[in-house]
Amino acid sequence: MMDHILSLLIFFPALAAMLGFVVRQDSIRAYGIAVAGIEFFLSLWLWYAYDPMVSGMQFMEAAPLIPAFGINYLLGIDGISLFIIILSTFFTLIGIASLTETRRVKDMIITLLFLEMTMVGVFAALDAIVFYVFWELSLVPMLYIIGAWGGPLRIYASVKFFLYTFAGSLVMLVGMLFMAYFYYQATGTWSFSILEWYRLILPENFQIWLFVAFFLGFAIKVPMFPFHTWLPYAHGQAPTIGSVILAAILLKMGTYAFVRFSLPLFPDASVFFMFPIAIIAIIMIIYTAMVAYAQEDIKQVVAYSSISHMGVIILGTFALNVEGVSGSVFLMIAHGVVSGALFLLVGVIYDRRHTKLMSEFGGLASVMPRYATIFGIMMMASVGLPLTINFVGEFLSLLGFYKQSHMLTLTAGVAIIVGAIYMLSAYKKAFFGQVSKEENTKLKDLNKTELVGLVPLVIVAIWLGVYPKPVLEPINNSVESVIQLMHDKAQSAEAKERIPNLSESNGIISMQEAH
């Protein structure tokens, strides 16, 4: 069974979704929770069976799909993808468990289960085309969720989301076809296997062009400045569950793909583009923080702060050393937990008041103490308070980039600290002071359903903040092998120097330990 656990993880929710068509409307929620629960336990079992000391791929599966064109069904995970898969199953479970939507609940749950298939598929795929299939397919359920359950501008927002990402990924597809063609030229057979591509060393100018092609697909997904304009619309119009999944998982596809494709395939190009991308990332952090400060809608504040933190992830990824990349992968998990939780929290107040304007709130802390506490913890985690989950990731990301450039890291660090202002001020506006509106005095505090969703997130946010080792160690091991691969493949002198050689430094450490 462990041989096919990844296939099981991918197709179990899809199969369950098909059967879900038969389940009656009034029982579908329980069915959804059961399926998502089983899926979550399967993913935990995957973690249990995963060997953290091995840095390469585990649970590999291979089956020919279109061998004539080099397309195979290849799956496998390493420390980088393991936790994002667990995050996906976790959030699908929480999303379904705390679902407050009442309109056409059956369609929603079936859609969410299909979405879960595509999410797990993206992170488990080791063949570029299989990856692409799930990557594109994930757009369809999200399109439906935003378009059918969203706010007044939902159709505009969902179509914009779809077309932006679709256009970007088509350029990436051309890049993939070029990659496969270069592999064909080098070896005489077509292959879309990422592991095979890792062995291919390309001339630097090819790398740069391909890097740009892949970058377009990934950057729109992340979304990086200036391609971010679809995201505020998507978040603004999406129902709570849509925003939660979008922020927690779908955006991670972009950052994950940078680590899986861009860095190891194009090490020289990565070094070439390191500073331009770092500057874009810093612009992203500062600019979206400023925009967030100007928002009146609390959901938009959370949305822009989410983009702002994605900038830190990108910065860490392009530090191109173990600390930075491990930190950014850890931050992906952290960002998922925290921004997912914040969107859930915004959903709670929206359900009660049917507005998201901060001017309508004020003094909520006295009316809804539990809500205010959890919101406060999550907000602190979001601004990167030490001993919370985000701190670990942000610190490591910045530490990694500090080795590449002191000035840029200092700018980014200051920007993150200043960025705390808008979150604190938003919190102040909504929760402190007198209860100014009549309607707010009778608001009910969190109920059981909502607590079931939120409490586990709080626990994870603090637990991994205090003791990140169980997650960080497997990530670190896998990242080390990626960085080593990059160093070995790098051709230009600058790239050799920027990307550390781990086999040497490892030797030194072990010698010191021996003394």
């Binding site: 004539a68 692409y132 757009l139 939902r154 159709i155 077309l163 679709f166 597809l173």
Partner: protein
Amino acid sequence: MLEPVNVSLASLNLATLAPMLIAIVGALSMLVIDLVKGGLHKSLYVMVSLLFLLLDLGALVDFGGVFLKNGTVLGFFDVMLMDGIAILSQIIIVAGSMLFIPLALTSKRFHEYNYPEYFSLFLFMIAGFQFMVATDNLILVFVGLETASLALYTLIALHNRRKSFEAAVKYFTMGALAAGFYAFGAMILYAISGSVEINQIATILAEDHYSNIGYVLIAVSFMIAAFGFKLSMVPFHTWTPDVYEGSSAALAGYMSIVPKIAGFVVAMRLFEFLVHSGVVWLQVILYIGVVVTMTAANIWALVQTDVKRMLAYSSISHAGFVMAAILIGTTQANTGLFLYWALFSFTNLGAFTMLWVNRQKNLLPGQSSDHPYEKFSGMVKTMPMAAIMMGLFMLSLAGIPPFGLFWGKIYMIGSAVSAGYTLLALIMALNSAIAGYYYLKLIVFMFMKEPMVGYEGYYLMNASLSLKTIIGVAAVGTIFAVFAVNPLLEVITLFVYNSGY
């Protein structure tokens, strides 16, 4: 006194005529049945056509086996040419026809299906297309083309509506013009080479190193215009949306697939040797034609308010996309053409059948055309299964993986990449993004809007069991295409490569 001509029957290799003859015999026998006993139900004729098409397909598969063993079969004074691409395209033509002919079995009565002539014309048309692809003799191509086209004009007109007559006349006029261009082109080619066989023309032109290049270019211009009309390449496409709108959805779907594959094969025979011998002018014209056809048709499709017209423009765009194979001209690209078209026929079959089952007898007050987008609003609430099916076909047409057309698309773009056409590959990819918008528009109407009042009675009005089966077949073919791609690729590559393309 003339010498008696002595030809041994064996040297004629009459077997090469068998597939077409089966279709013709089928057509004649239906006329005979009608003579003996009139007023029989259409289901009889549908089944008889299906049987003859099945025989036809059997003969073709048999030829496929012979081809793989012995190579190209020539026959009838070397006029008939049964090479790999002839066999492949005939299989697509016959199989496509077999999937479309059961669409006549609607639950409502339609005027045209009461005539047995409809079905015999249908089979004559298929025979025409088969002649067209199974030869490299310009005269026989012409004969096949005209047989098929004349039958098709009549079939369109038989759909007894004012718009259908308009469509038939329009198509006839444009078709006549195209035939004229074709005749001029063929004439000039004959004048400079003294032959009407494409391979002879190629040899003779190569032997004198294209000294008559001026005439060749004039001939090619005429030919491009002729095939531009037939394949609806921009700017010769203007008839397409009107003709599709005027004919029944079933026939429109048929027209978007079968006549075009016949056109592609002749274009492949005629243009590829010119592209390969470095006639740069032709390459440039083809390049421009492909890019403009893809892009302009996509942009027109964006502004359509009727789903059928949108699908008409979209099929122009798909034809432009596939035409790129003729420009690229590698074995991989030509394989991609057949693969793409096989997958496309399944998806388009499904999409047009979904329109066909929703066909109304009369338009409602204020309704401008047969299938406006509004007709499909909120379909997921009234008919969830039908909405999911239609959504599936739209996603496949847009090239969303893992549905059918995606695999055709990546193979075609892959062939552009490996032939060094980087810019073309990017244009092809980005056109899929533009196309995404109008396919998405229908999905938006179906899944995200409220149902319109007044159309309830028309959903699935014509859906009989056989129509639902066809939709099911198309859906299965679209969803599970990924498993069919590898065997298809292997077979097609074998056929195309061994025919020298």
